[in-house]
C-alpha cells in the first residue's frame, strides 16, 4: 500500500507538465528549424547510464551521463531527463537539472518493469538534443539499508551493554550512583510544601510522547507522586498534551492507590489545559500566582516558554527544580531555577529517585558507552590529525571511517 495521495499528485503534476513542456518544446523546435544562420544544434549528452537506486523503498532509478560538449561554453541551459517503458512509443518527461550536473534521481519509476532513459541538452531557446537511449533496468526495492549498518552495529552494542548491566543488577550486584543535587532536593521540597500547606506544581514539558524527554518526565512524575501521596500533599499537573494527560492521570492515580489513599486522588488536579504554547503559559502563570505552589518542578521538553514560566515561578517564591534536554532552554532554567538537571541527568532521574537496581543497571550501561565514545574520539582525532599532515597514509583511516 503505497501512500497514494502525494505520489499521485506528483505524478499528475509531472505528467501534465511533461506534456506541456513536450508540446512547447516541439512547437519551438519547429520555429527554430527555420532560420539558417542560427547556431548549430547542441551536441547531445553521451554515455547515459542508469542503475537501480541502492538502499531505497523502490520506484527509483539513478541516471548519470557525460556532459554535452557545448556545456563548457555555457550554451546548455538545462538537462532534461525522459523515461519510458517502451522506447518505441515515446518518452515521458521525468525531471530537469542545471547545466554542469551529470546525475539525476528519478523517484517515479514503475516497479518491476524495464525502463529506458534519455537525457536532452537544452539551449536557451528550448531546442533539445537528445542522447542515445540507455540500456534498460528495473527499479527494485531493498530489504536492508546497507548505509545504516554502522548505526545498527552501534545500536546493537548499546542494547547489549544495557541488557548486560540490567541483568547483572537483577542478580544483586551493588551499584553506585553519584549525587544529583536537584533530585536530593525533591524530598525536602515535598516536605516543605506539606509544612506550608501549599501545593506542588509539576510541569511535564510542552511536547508529546514523541519526545523521549516527555517519557522521562512521566517516569519522574511516578516517583514524585508516590512521595506526595505519602505526605498527602496536593499535586497539580497541568498538561499541554492530551495523551500525556491520559497517561499522567493513570500514573498519579496508581501512586495514590499504592500508598493506600485512593480517595485522596483528585482527577481535577491532573488536567489538560491547551496544546497551544503560549496559551498554556498564560494558564500556568495564572495557576502559579493564584495557587502559590511551594515547589515547582519542570521536567521534560521545553521551548521558548521556559523563562516565562520559571521567572513567574520565582516571583511567587517557589523552590524550583528543572530538568530538560532542550539545550537552548537550559541556560534559562539554570538562571531562574534553584536546581537544574542538565541533559542526560534528566534521563537518570527516575533511576536515581526509585533506586531500582534494574534502572540503575541501565545507567551503568550508558556510562560504558560513554567511555567507548570518549576513547574513540581521542583515537580518531589523533589519526585524523596525522593523516591531515601526511604523517601517515590516508588508507589507514578507511577502516575507522566506515561510518561515512
Amino acid at each position: 500500500m503505497r501512500a497514494r495521495t502525494p505520489a499521485g499528485f506528483v505524478v499528475g503534476v509531472l505528467s501534465i507538465s511533461a506534456l506541456f513542456l513536450c508540446s512547447a518544446a516541439l512547437a519551438q523546435e519547429e520555429i527554430e528549424a527555420a532560420p539558417a544562420d542560427s547556431l548549430p544544434p547542441l551536441s547531445p549528452p553521451t554515455s547515459v547510464m542508469i542503475s537501480d537506486t541502492p538502499n531505497d523503498r523502490g520506484f527509483s532509478i539513478n541516471v548519470t551521463w557525460a556532459l554535452s560538449s557545448d556545456d563548457e561554453a555555457g550554451r546548455v541551459t538545462s538537462y532534461r531527463i525522459y523515461r519510458t517503458s517502451d522506447p518505441d512509443t515515446g518518452f515521458a518527461f521525468a525531471g530537469r537539472v542545471s547545466p554542469g550536473d551529470t546525475e539525476y534521481r528519478d523517484g517515479d519509476a514503475p516497479e518491476g518493469e524495464l525502463v529506458y532513459y534519455r537525457v536532452s541538452a537544452t539551449d536557451d531557446v528550448g531546442a533539445e538534443s537528445p542522447s542515445e537511449t540507455s540500456a534498460p533496468t528495473q527499479a527494485v526495492p531493498q530489504w536492508f539499508n546497507k548505509e545504516r549498518i554502522n548505526v545498527l552495529i552501534a545500536v546493537f552494542i548499546f542494547v547489549a551493554a544495557i541488557v548486560y548491566f540490567v541483568v547483572s543488577a537483577r542478580r544483586g550486584k551493588d551499584l553506585f550512583i553519584r549525587r544529583l543535587a536537584g533530585l536530593d532536593e525533591v524530598d525536602n521540597a515535598v516536605g516543605r510544601a506539606t509544612e506550608m500547606g501549599k501545593p506542588i506544581l509539576y510541569i511535564s514539558g510542552l511536547s508529546t510522547v514523541s519526545d523521549v524527554a516527555t517519557i522521562a518526565a512521566i517516569n519522574i512524575l511516578g516517583e514524585v507522586a508516590k512521595k506526595t501521596a505519602e505526605y498527602n500533599t496536593r499535586l497539580i499537573v497541568p498538561c499541554a498534551d492530551p495523551i500525556v494527560m491520559a497517561v499522567e492521570q493513570e500514573v498519579v492515580k496508581e501512586a495514590y492507590a499504592k500508598v493506600g489513599r485512593p480517595d485522596s486522588y483528585n482527577e481535577d488536579d491532573v488536567f489538560y489545559l491547551t496544546r497551544s504554547q503560549f496559551a498554556y503559559v498564560a494558564g500556568v502563570n495564572g495557576i502559579m500566582v493564584r495557587q502559590r505552589p511551594a515547589t515547582i518542578l519542570y521536567m521534560g521538553m521545553f521551548f521558548a516558554e521556559s523563562l516565562v514560566l520559571a521567572e513567574t515561578g520565582a516571583s511567587v517564591g517557589a523552590i524550583q527544580i528543572a530538568g530538560t534536554d532542550a539545550v537552548t532552554q537550559l541556560p534559562f532554567f539554570i538562571t531562574a531555577c534553584d536546581y537544574t538537571l542538565i541533559g542526560e541527568e534528566l534521563y537518570a532521574a527516575s533511576a536515581y529517585l526509585s533506586r531500582e537496581p534494574v534502572l540503575l543497571g541501565g545507567l551503568k550501561g550508558q556510562d560504558t558507552l560513554k567511555m567507548v565514545i570518549a576513547i574513540t574520539i581521542i583515537l580518531t582525532t589523533i589519526v585524523a590529525t596525522l593523516v591531515a599532515v601526511n604523517a601517515i597514509g590516508a588508507d589507514f583511516m578507511t577502516p575507522l571511517l566506515i561510518t561515512q
Partner: protein, 287 residues
C-alpha cells in the same frame, strides 16, 4: 481602512494590553485574557486535529467510503486500515467506564511503545554517531607551498584558551575540595593538552616537512571529553574523572552563558514587534 479591520485590530490591542497588565500584577484583565485564550486555543486545536486527521483518515473512509479523493470498498483492506485507529481512539474513552477502564491502556501502549521505538536508531545516528564524527576532525593540516603561515593565527586558537584555563584552574584549586588526585588530574589534562597543542604543532611540522596550521582547537576535544565525564553517573567524581568533570562544568557554564546572550536579541525583537503593533494602531486613527 475598513471598519471591521479596525474593530478586530482594536480587540487585538485590548487583549495585548490585558496581557501586559500582568507585568504589574495579577488582575481581572489578565484573568480575562488568560481564560479566553485557554478556551479559544483548546477549541482551535480540537477543530484543526479533527479536520486534519479524524475526518480524512477515519470518518470519511469508514462512513463515506472515500480516502484521499478515491473511493474505497466497504470491508476492504483500506477500510479496515481506517477503522482500526478509530476503534483505538474510542478505547481512550474507556476510562469513563470504571469497569472497563483498563482497556484504555491498549492504545496508550501502542502510542508510547511506537514513539519509543521510533527514537532509538535516528538518535544513535544524529546525536551520537554524527556528533562523534564531527568531533573527530584533524587538529592541524598542511598549508600549501605558496601560502604564508601566520604564526599568530596558528596558535591563538589554542593559546587564548589555555591562558583562560590557567587562570580558572587557579580559582578552582583555591575553592574546591576535589582531593589532591583530582587537582593533579586536572592540571595533568590541561598540561597534556597544552603539550599536544604546542608540541604537536612542532613535531608535525618536522614530520611532514611542511608548514602546519592548527585547524581545530584542541580545547574543543578537551571540552567534549570533560562534558562527557561530567555526565558519568556510576563512578565517584574523584581523581582523573573528577578533574575532567570539573573541566566539563567550566565548558557547560560558558556554553550556557553564550546561549543566553545569543537568544536575548530575538526575544527583544518580539517585544519591539508588539510595541510596533500598538503604535500602528494609534496611527490608524490619525490616518
Amino acid at each position: 481602512m475598513e471598519f471591521s479591520t479596525l474593530i478586530w485590530t482594536t480587540i487585538g490591542v485590548i487583549l495585548t494590553l490585558c496581557v501586559y497588565s500582568f507585568l504589574y500584577k495579577d488582575n481581572p484583565f489578565y484573568k480575562f485574557a488568560e481564560h479566553l485564550v485557554v478556551g479559544a486555543s483548546a477549541g482551535y486545536y480540537l477543530v484543526i486535529y479533527y479536520y486534519n486527521f479524524i475526518d480524512p483518515n477515519v470518518v470519511r473512509p469508514v462512513f463515506q467510503l472515500e480516502h484521499g479523493g478515491q473511493a474505497i470498498a466497504l470491508g476492504g483492506f483500506e477500510w479496515w486500515m481506517a477503522l482500526i485507529p478509530g476503534l483505538l481512539g474510542l478505547l481512550l474513552y474507556a476510562r469513563f467506564f470504571p469497569k472497563i477502564a483498563w482497556v484504555g491502556r491498549w492504545p496508550l501502549g501502542i502510542y508510547v511503545g511506537g514513539y519509543a521505538g521510533l527514537g532509538i536508531s535516528p538518535v544513535m545516528q544524529a546525536r551520537v554517531i554524527d556528533q562523534m564524527r564531527a568531533a573527530s576532525s584533524p587538529l592541524a593540516s598542511i598549508v600549501g607551498p605558496g601560502e604564508v603561515v601566520d604564526p599568530f593565527a596558528a596558535v591563538t586558537n589554542t593559546a587564548l584558551g589555555f591562558v583562560i584555563f590557567a587562570v580558572m584552574t587557579y580559582f578552582l584549586l583555591a575553592k574546591r575540595h576535589l582531593g589532591s588526585r583530582g587537582i593533579a588530574a586536572m592540571i595533568g589534562v590541561i598540561a597534556a593538552s597544552a603539550v599536544v597543542g604546542y608540541g604537536g604543532y612542532v613535531v608535525l611540522t618536522a614530520l611532514s616537512a611542511a608548514n602546519v596550521v592548527s585547524t581545530t582547537s584542541i580545547l574543543l576535544v578537551v571540552g567534549l571529553l570533560g562534558t562527557l565525564a561530567y555526565f558519568f553517573f556510576s563512578l565517584r567524581h574523584t581523581g582523573l574523572l573528577g578533574g575532567l568533570a570539573r573541566i566539563g562544568i567550566v565548558f557547560l557554564m560558558v556554553g550556557f552563558g553564550a546561549s543566553f546572550g545569543y537568544t536575548v536579541m530575538s526575544r527583544i525583537s518580539l517585544l519591539i514587534g508588539r510595541v510596533g503593533f500598538l503604535i500602528d494602531w494609534i496611527g490608524m486613527f490619525s490616518s
